[in-house]
Symmetry: none
Subunit: 218 residues, 4 copies
């Protein structure tokens, strides 16, 4: 009781919001938007349920915020790769590597995006921030491709959007379908060896698609 009063209100408010967002991210990722329970979010985050409505208005708005933050996180991480400071081929490899690792370590991202697509991206549409960071991301890959061509290591005419989708897709599908995949392919897709093998396969797939032949005849 006394301890609570000792904490400044402003700091408390911010902390509460963070705790809500964290708990909400987890619950939305685990259960989807429809399956998520506000009660569970409150309980897990040790927050009074009323605070959720105080700070975020509704379950849907909370979902939107969670989603927004998730997108901002990955886009921020991508920018931090500083791909423009590496030779093009290495940079591309690093991007494929990063995408794989990020999805692997942040499985909520995938589930949240799936949920959002189930809802036809109505929440994402409302966010302007997303559009800004997304554009920067596409530009980054576009720059990389152009530089690779200039360096003579990449083929001409590879569309950066299509490439982005492929880089994401070959990682995303493997990981989002980890459960059904393990049944269909009768393999544990998630053990260490399997994961390493997949990353190698993904890198090879992308490099073969993008690089000029001389980069592969070796």
């Amino acid at each position: 009781m006394n301890a609570k009063n000792a904490v400044p209100r402003t700091r408390n408010a911010e902390d509460t919001q963070k705790r809500i967002l964290k708990a909400a991210k987890r619950e939305f990722a685990r259960c989807g938007l429809a399956g998520a329970r506000v009660d569970v979010i409150a309980e897990r985050g040790k927050i009074n349920k009323r605070m959720i409505y105080h700070y975020f208005g509704s379950k849907r708005e909370l979902f939107q915020r969670v989603l927004e933050e998730a997108y901002i996180d990955i886009r921020t991480a991508e920018q931090k790769l500083n791909l423009d400071q590496l030779p093009a081929r290495e940079a591309l490899e690093k991007l494929v590597h990063f995408t794989w690792e990020y999805y692997l370590k942040n499985p909520e991202f995938i589930t949240l995006v799936n949920s959002e697509n189930l809802h036809k991206a109505v929440h994402l549409k409302k966010s302007t921030t997303i559009k800004v960071v997304s554009r920067r991301f596409v530009e980054m890959v576009d720059d990389l491709l152009k530089r690779g061509v200039k360096e003579g290591v990449f083929r001409r005419g590879v569309d950066p959007v299509q490439l982005n989708i492929s880089i994401a897709g070959i990682a995303y599908y493997y990981l989002t379908n980890r459960y059904t995949g393990s049944i269909v392919f009768e393999r544990n897709l998630m053990d260490k060896a399997a994961l390493e093998e997949r990353l190698k396969f993904n890198i090879e797939t992308i490099l073969r698609m993008v690089c000029v032949e001389s980069q592969w005849s070796s």
Copy 2:
């Protein structure tokens, strides 16, 4: 609420079950397992809600059946491709093409699989039929790869499971993320030209990964 205008065209148990499954597939695909409403399934299928429980026991069991049938459908369609009667390179191209088209024309399949993965594949685990048809599917691609190597058109050492996942992934990701993707990439991913371009990109990606160089020097 029950469907007020439920007209039992024929007093036909089989037909009723089919109507339930059809309506359920649609609703589960649209809303996920948690978001789907049994009432809606009954109304849309013009079925008395009671019949759903009579024939399928519960919402979850109904979901399981829908999912099972969805897997059986795609696996059956794949077998009908008769890939073994085509030259290996053509056969592979046909498989990539088919996968793309199937996902495009049966978007429910993707959403159902996403839902099932959200639930950690608990429903699929219970199905034995799935395991049988899945094995046959993996063997089909394995045979194809081996034949391609024998024919001298495919590289050695490409893992059929990894290839399958890539073929699926580059199509699946594009289509499951159609809504968020259209925002992130500021493009309508679903217009005719975009779809055609993507299919071409996918075929090229897979062929470059699998075929020997001579098949690409042209």
Copy 3:
């Protein structure tokens, strides 16, 4: 669900009705009127559910018939005791004994009567047969008491209705409350020794109430 293996015996209406009544008695006794399930009656009796409605009209009417038969059964059994052919004291003892044994061997009777009282005897009220057999029963005890007085073994002025109620009550309560009683009294009320002890206690209670002192000074 209907009984799948319902065998259409040679159009045996009487047998079907008996099977329905037997299954219904069991179910009503087990679960009460509200808790009983028509489906269960049909399944257990291997009868088509529709037949229940054909022969008995409704669940309530079926209950009424079951109850009626239960009352007729006990009253018939009582008449068969031929108490008038025994010395009064012996006859009374026999009646107490019989009541105990009957309740013990026909636990459904007690539960059915409890259910009927929960429903304020609306079903019993409709039955004229019950009134006839009941009157005969009360007369039987009345005759016995009068004879006992004449024989000099029973006290004067014992009301036959009150006596009947006590004879029934001390047996009925013990047995209807077998489950709660076993907890409250921390004793297994239903093992062989306990049952024998109770019967003895009951006989003594009734004889002490009815007989003249000389019958007890021994």
Copy 4:
């Protein structure tokens, strides 16, 4: 349906729980566990249905609590009789009197116990409180019997449990079967004179069973 005119007089959790318990007791007593309707409990108690689940979890758990309280109530009332401060014979008479009056004025108790026995006492088994108060009750009668023997007014060797069951039984049966009984015996068992007569009969029955003859030769 929720109670439309639910007016939260005071925003008081304890009061709400009491109102729920009161309404539930009435409904369970009137209709049994299976026949009782949660909607009716909510409406009659002017409580929001949701609160029932919030405080008690489920219909069955609510029933358990109602039953538990009913047992505690009667056991508490019995202790308040202070039988140990009266001569043994008077105390016994008072107990018989009390039991009759209690059942008469609290008819729900009987119906609840009947319902619980229909369910084989599964709810009562879970309650530890019941065992404590029950033991105290049995001890009370045991003490009374022993004291009566010492005072020279009671016979030796009367089992307190058997006696308890008889005291309860002769009252319980009369009252639980008030409706069927009125038909079978063609008498209104519930008018004032009938009730008084029955109480007298019960007292006499028990005293004759317990007391030494000298107490009855007068």
